[in-house]
Amino acid sequence: MNENLKHRIKARILKALHLVALFIAMAIICVPGLWIVLNSFRPTVEIMAKPPVWIPSELNLDNYRAMFGAVGEGGVPVVQYFTNSLIISVTSTVIAILVGMAGGYAFARYRFKGKAGIFIGLMLTRAVPGVSLSLPLFIVMAKTGLIDTHVGLILVYVALNVPFTIWLIDGFFRQVPIELAEAAEIDGCTRWQAFWKVEFPVARAGIASAGIFAFLTSWNEYALASQLTRSTFSKTMPVGLRDFTSEFTINWGGMCALAVLMIIPALILTFIVQKHLIAGLTFGGVKG
């Protein structure tokens, strides 16, 4: 019985250690985000207080009010930034998904020479660092007059998202047995109908998750946007964050408020599809 007891105690200890480790890990993940949220509700005096104030004595919406307030008095054209971000992200995501579906379908269903090479080539375009690309892109955009326009940024984001989208969607179409489409064709569908009526619905969940990735990438992108946008007319939220910095100071409270505004849509979207998100990444990748 002694031996059993020893193992039982060991199992208990391991379980306790597991819980402690898990708690610490989750705390590290959560604290920075919560810190931002908390500070978006605190008055600047309290943020700057020395010694620090740990238990907030006052929480208010001042930072949000100021942000939506008049430009110049700490206000920032948030609504415009938000709209820009939304238009650019949604449009580029939709286009990227359409282009990615065509490309992914080609990789999943056709055999052709140089397939692996073309695939790697497409992927590598994504590996080009934003800064390195932004320099020549800036010149091209300036020449073609696309700088500081929605269209310009949309095009860039489509290109940014297409490789990864193709990779994921390729994986999803491979999951759909080809017999399914063949059966539909025997039942009298054209190839086109067979795709929309059979293959697309089956792969839809996966395609949606590819869409979320594309959206998040566009929504959060900064390196390119910061160079290709100039004015309120096309600046996106990540670029807008810089409005809170001046030469020597940063308006932390205001920035936290905008940050919260930026995270919320991403958060909602991710929660909706979180299950597909994981499946999406792994199917796309492993079963390659």
Binding site: P32, M48, R126, P238
Partner: protein, 298 residues
């Protein structure tokens, strides 16, 4: 009817090829060309003077360039390895949980939704020597009475950047590895326990080979956009103070936009592109090898 009909796969791939050519390939060709000129934004005519490999020579003999290059490789190597290990640890912790796992998984994805620039500001705030969370906490706990210059001292700033980068990317690894853990069949694991394996041996000999492809996918995906780290660094220190945290990307950005020396910046840009391509191709090859090992190759 002598016109040749292009094959379907080509038509389907055409939009992707066109857009990538327009947005990536053409600018890259342009930058390749300009990297052989002394092009400055302020002097457009300088675009037409051919100077051969002068820019590359300049970069390859510049101490600033090599320090930034070395620091970038160092940061990437440390960051990717630590993220992988911590992601693995986190995934194993969460995988062991029997209830509430959905919630934990959702929390785990939290940092993935944060824009890198936001991560930069967030940690710039947290590591702020005056009002930051870290110094506040250290001071309140009585561990120090000074304001530790997290973002000013070279080594500390490197560390702070590493922390920010890891916070933002560890969850990508954790999520992917967790998905890998879900896909590990139960049977071989049980067989191994019965065969006499300790939990560590089971992990080492059975679980790890199974999740290796997932680890490489995560590494490949991450290396595809390692340059996201640029956003973080640019906000936190922008390479400064006095080049103490200069990375390849911040050096390129500053040379191009602040000094307006586009030709030179593009030459260095090319070197950074090859660095990224090297990492990516390396991990893709590893991925294929690991898949072959498990007999999953396509």
């Amino acid at each position: 009817m002598s016109r040749l009909k292009p094959p379907a796969w080509f038509v389907l791939l055409l939009p992707a090829i066109i857009i990538l050519a327009a947005v990536v390939l053409i600018p890259l060709l342009l930058s390749l060309y300009s990297s052989f000129t002394p092009y400055r934004l302020t002097r457009p005519d300088s675009l037409y003077r051919w100077i051969g490999f002068a820019n590359y020579e300049k970069a390859l003999t510049s101490i600033h360039f090599w320090t930034a290059f070395g620091r970038t490789v160092l940061l990437l190597t440390i960051a990717l390895n630590l993220e992988m290990l911590m992601g693995l640890g986190l995934a194993l912790l969460v995988n062991k949980v029997t209830w509430g796992q959905r919630t934990l998984r959702t929390i785990m994805m939290f940092p993935m939704m944060f824009s890198p620039i936001l991560v930069g500001f967030q940690f710039k705030f947290i590591f702020n020597d005056n009002v930051g969370l870290v110094n506040n906490a250290l001071q309140s706990l009585g561990l120090t009475d000074q304001a530790i210059p997290w973002l000013v001292d070279g080594k500390l700033a490197f560390f702070s950047i590493l922390v920010a980068e890891m916070w933002s990317a560890t969850s990508v690894f954790a999520i992917l590895i967790l998905a890998g853990l879900f896909a590990v069949p139960r049977d071989p694991i049980e067989a191994a326990t019965v065969d006499g394996c300790t939990p560590w041996q089971t992990f080492r000999h059975i679980t790890l080979p199974f999740i290796m492809p997932f680890i490489y996918i995560a590494l490949a995906i991450r290396s595809l956009d390692v340059a996201r780290a640029y956003d973080i660094v640019q906000i936190m220190t922008n390479g400064g103070p006095a080049r103490r945290t200069e990375l390849l990307w911040t050096l390129i950005g500053r040379t191009g936009y602040v000094d307006a020396r586009m030709g030179y910046a593009n030459a260095m840009g090319y070197i950074s592109i090859f660095l990224a391509i090297f990492f990516t191709v390396y991990f893709f090859r590893k991925l294929n090898a690991a898949r072959g090992e498990l007999g999953m190759a396509s």
